[in-house]
């Protein structure tokens, strides 16, 4: 029964290849992890995560995590609505800080113009405003 033979052969070779590849991947990973620099790693880590969060485009995403709001004066917990609102605010503000502080090397064109438009423009506005104001 040739088909059955074919099936068994495919199964054998196929599973072999799958396992082989993933084991190779395992070795590759272990190798990579050998050269892990913990300290900076964690730092980069956090940065990467923040960026990834912002990446979702929906600045609202990280709201729940970001805000560990607890009334410092041991008062009652704030309303969920307020919590969410502040969540939005913090996320947006964080994004603005991050993008205004971008190094001169950051490329604004053609992609990042979205951000440029949103926030750098605000910064530029302030710049040119102060320039308008100086005369006075």
């Amino acid at each position: 029964m040739d088909d059955l033979g074919f099936g068994l052969w495919v199964t054998f070779v196929g599973m072999g290849l799958v396992f082989g590849l993933l084991v190779a991947l395992w070795l590759l990973l272990s190798l990579a992890l050998r050269f892990e620099a913990r300290g900076p790693g964690a730092a980069d880590e956090r940065r990467a995560t923040d960026e990834a969060r912002l990446a979702t485009g929906a600045a609202v995403a990280p709201a729940p995590e970001r805000i560990a709001i607890r009334p410092t004066d041991g008062g009652p917990p704030p309303e969920p609505a307020l919590v969410a609102a502040i969540g939005v605010a913090v996320a947006l503000h964080a994004e603005s800080r991050r993008l205004q502080a971008a190094p001169a090397m950051r490329s604004y064109w053609p992609g990042s113009l979205l951000f440029a438009s949103r926030w750098v423009s605000a910064g530029r506005t302030r710049q040119s405003q102060s320039w308008h104001r100086r005369p006075r």
Partner: protein
């Protein structure tokens, strides 16, 4: 003329076939699953809609220049849509848990056995080799992989295979727990895993997708498109410098492509070809593939548990089937039902991510073996 026109006006009613009516019923069931039960609505709803539109009498939508035909030619025939969706999935997948526990890759590999087991069963049932492989790929328990492989090997089975793949993926929380309970002891399910405290640097997260692409792409060229697309999305995500592209790939692009993909696949479900005994066999075999995947994953995990001296929770093996990220969440639920303080979620996520990679790899391997020998 008038007579001809009258006949033409009634053409619709007279052209209504019993198969069409049955297909409307099938579409109704899919819509019910999608809307009332919330089973993978993002795919099943467009598929059902496409099926309705395709089974209308003399449907102009599947004629030449028909809307559904255009969509099919634009993205299914050339496999563009599943790959674009894979880019989006890569952009949404966090391989961190896998990087923290690389050994989890083994469970991902084990979770693919169902593919081959069902391939054999399908051959025994008399399906052709290409068809059998396409049916087996349901065992990848990963939508785009199933569409990509069956679209190349057996396009005429695309409809039932895709429907089976997505329906069963949605059924993960229903199908898996019994299997998991059957193959593990309460004691095993109560095992608490040590938190994998290791931190993975951003550099490693960025090198991972590149390395996987080079490794898999070189060893199994046929798997390059699937793995390449998945890892491209993940590279964009982890690089953190192309948020615009990551967002576009995982939102705007993924949404539009998902809609078109569903409609185009639904358009392949024309009654005459869909209402065959083969379709039922495919649905049946699909669930078998599902069970085999979970079982082999669990068994391997029990072995790992023995090797590790009882410190490895076998439930995690069930997460190797991919069905990302539902399988991992089901593992967490089942474990918690035994011991509310037990949180194997992160470890299960690792196995789950490995399953995602393994599914794409297995798809490419299958293409290489079958396409290579079929002709």
């Amino acid at each position: 003329m008038s007579d001809a026109t009258i006949a033409q006006l009634l053409a619709g009613v007279t052209g209504l076939t019993w198969q069409a009516i049955v297909m409307f019923g099938v579409a109704g069931i899919l819509l019910w699953l999608a809307i009332a039960r919330d089973y993978e609505p993002l795919l099943l709803l467009p598929i059902a809609a496409g099926a309705i539109l395709a089974n209308l009498p003399h449907s102009p939508l599947i004629g030449e220049e028909g809307l559904l035909t255009i969509l099919y030619d634009a993205g299914i025939e050339n496999e563009l849509f599943p790959l674009l969706i894979f880019i989006g999935i890569g952009a949404l997948t966090d391989f961190g848990p896998l990087l923290e526990n690389p050994r989890m890759v083994l469970l991902g590999a084990a979770g693919q056995f169902g593919i081959f087991g069902v391939l054999i069963l399908a051959l025994l049932l008399g399906f052709s080799r290409a068809e059998s492989a396409s049916i087996g790929i349901i065992g990848a328990i990963d939508g785009p992989t199933s569409i990509y492989v069956s679209g190349q090997l057996a396009p005429h089975l695309l409809g039932p295979i895709t429907v089976a793949a997505y329906s069963y993926m949605a059924l993960v929380p229903v199908i898996m727990p019994p299997i998991m309970r059957a193959l593990t002891t309460p004691a095993e399910r109560r095992i608490r895993m040590a938190p994998g405290g290791r931190t993975v640097s951003r550099r490693t997260r960025i090198l991972f997708p590149i390395g996987v692409t080079l490794l898999v792409g070189t060893l199994v060229p046929m798997a390059a498109p699937l793995i390449g697309a998945l890892m491209l999305g993940n590279l964009m995500r982890e690089s953190g410098v192309v948020q615009r592209l990551t967002g576009a790939a995982s939102n705007e692009l993924a949404n539009v492509v998902t809609l078109f993909l569903g409609l185009a696949i639904g358009s392949t479900m024309v009654g005459a070809s869909f209402l065959q005994p083969g379709t039922l066999a495919i649905l049946g075999l699909g669930i078998v593939a599902f069970g085999l995947d979970a079982a082999t994953g669990l068994v391997l995990a029990k072995g790992l548990n023995r090797l590790s001296g009882g410190t490895f929770n076998p439930l995690i093996g069930a997460a190797g089937i991919s069905a990302f990220p539902m399988a991992a969440r089901v593992v967490q639920r089942v474990a918690q039902s035994e011991d509310f303080e037990n949180f194997p979620l992160m470890h299960a996520m690792g196995a789950n991510a490995a399953g995602q990679v393994a599914s794409a790899v297995a798809g490419g391997v299958l293409l290489a073996l079958v396409a290579g020998s079929a002709v």
